[in-house]
Symmetry: C2
Subunit: 318 residues, 2 copies
């Protein structure tokens, strides 16, 4: 196994151990049982890994970094829980989503509780610049804005690719930007450096989300841990839908109208034959490249852990 893979495995293991040991009360069960259920899910821990790799690069205290990574993963879980209610998604990480396993009320409250706990985890870091909480909560507000744009777009007929990338930059990019910049904030790097490493994370986030839109149609359900095609079914404006619309709006409309929520064959055929898949893959690569470029400018070369991890993300299902 390559060194970077070993490192990632080590971080994931250490992180999962910390998460398991995280002290949560038992009562009231109505609040903490769903929270425990949500944290049991076997996430890929991309975000905590980004925090740890950035922390390693910026020589941030490892104990502090563990706290930041716990906060970030809890924040991420909270947004997934609330998003799953809004998007009526029933499966996540091979488990029923929280509102599906419990109910909508429990899921709303569990999300609120997790978000609050994530704040308390960060607040518990003794030596921290005052701007840490600011960066964190600004990212959260952007995530809310991104989710709002995503919901707004459902009712719009045509969305440009620029509108789409602006949406996913907030919805997915803001948190990845925070993962990379929070360790730099703690290590009191210059405002310029913080801004640039945040930009790297945001570009990575856009690339990551575009890839996810592709996986949502072309991947294996078991590998994804959820049913596929729900973006299409709920008329989400993904990069794929935007490109497909451009190629042949009438045919695409008729294909998605016939979609039963399960059989993706005709959708896949249309996207492959019309090179939509290829185009969207190229678009994702462009954002990966933008992330690599700025990362290199910041002094992280191809041998750096962050660079190598980005490559792993890029090739995560190939």
């Amino acid at each position: 196994m390559s060194d970077i893979k070993k490192l990632i495995q080590f971080i994931r293991k250490e992180f999962n151990r910390s998460l398991k040991l995280f002290p949560l009360p038992n009562k009231p069960e109505y609040l903490y049982d769903p929270i425990k259920y949500a944290l049991k899910g076997e996430g890929k821990r991309f975000r905590p890994i980004l925090v740890h790799l950035s922390g390693k690069a910026y020589k941030t205290d490892p104990d502090i970094i563990m706290k930041v990574s716990l906060a970030v993963e809890m924040l991420h879980c909270f947004t997934l829980i609330h998003d799953d209610i809004m998007d009526s998604d029933n499966m996540r990480r091979n488990m029923p989503t929280l509102h599906h396993q419990y109910d909508i009320s429990s899921a709303i409250l569990a999300g609120d509780g997790m978000f609050t706990i994530s704040q308390l985890v960060l607040i518990g870091i003794e030596k921290k610049p005052p701007s840490l909480m600011q960066f964190y909560n600004e990212a959260v507000l952007e995530i809310c804005e991104g989710q709002a744009l995503d919901k707004d777009f459902e009712d719009l007929d045509e969305i440009s690719m620029d509108m789409y990338t602006a949406m996913v930059e907030k919805k997915t990019g803001a948190l990845l930007g925070a993962c990379l910049c929070l360790p730099a904030v703690i290590s009191e790097r210059s405002n310029d450096e913080i801004k640039r490493i945040k930009y790297v994370g945001r570009q990575l986030g856009i690339a990551f989300q575009i890839q996810d839109d592709l996986f949502e149609i072309f991947e294996d359900e078991n590998k994804m841990g959820k049913s596929l095609g729900s973006d299409i079914f709920s008329n989400k404006k993904t990069a794929i839908a935007i490109e497909a619309n451009k190629i042949n709006k009438n045919e695409w409309d008729s294909i998605i109208h016939q979609f039963d929520g399960k059989d993706l064959k005709s959708i896949r055929n249309f996207l492959s034959e019309n090179k939509v898949k290829e185009k969207v893959e190229t678009l994702a690569d462009q954002y990966f490249n933008s992330a690599y470029n700025e990362l290199t400018n910041l002094g992280f070369n191809k041998e750096s852990d962050l660079y190598k991890f980005f490559k792993m993300i890029q090739g995560r299902h190939s």
Copy 2:
């Protein structure tokens, strides 16, 4: 008009002006339209008033106090929005609740956004002790726990009065405790003083909630700005339900089983005839007295603004 009434009116007016001027983006509409709608509601602003009166007593910078009061009111609105979804309440402050006016997804997201904005407002206070955010978020987690207990109790057959007061101390008391103690925290009062003024707020909160349970049955719908009896209808374990159960469980069960969600006459008769109303009023007064006592111990006599405001709260519908 008495001096205290003039003062309260002045604070409310200034607060409402600040809230109106609070800079909120226009886009995405999906997020900010519902937030603006929620802030338009004509709340009584009890919590901001408590913050201002405590800030005045502790000689806290008025600009900082305004920020704290804005944060606290937004936090309060956020919890109401999410609670209204969980409790399927359709009216609030004489307006349709947010999920009723928009939909559940918008209301979840608006709540999340408001909570995040409230954090950012507090974070924006330049000179603040690190413990400010800690006290704030600890209160939020307690509010979540209180709401969880409330939901848990719906499925339980018998709840003791101690369990009830422990629940409302979290659900309602935690925030009122924060309103009174946050200014003391900012003015760097001793830990003992902070703890005691927080206790005052928590006792006030219990008293306030017990009264609210009474109003929910005995008040005028227009005055309350919402339909009444919903606690009974959804089998909420209020102080009234607990006392009524003690008096005559069978008769009370049969009365609430017959309740159509509208006509409260037989419920009111039972509660008055069996002196349940009287008992619960006495219970509320006990918690008010406990608040007055500790307030007096802290040096706030009967002529202090806080004492007088508590008296106004106690007599708010009489």
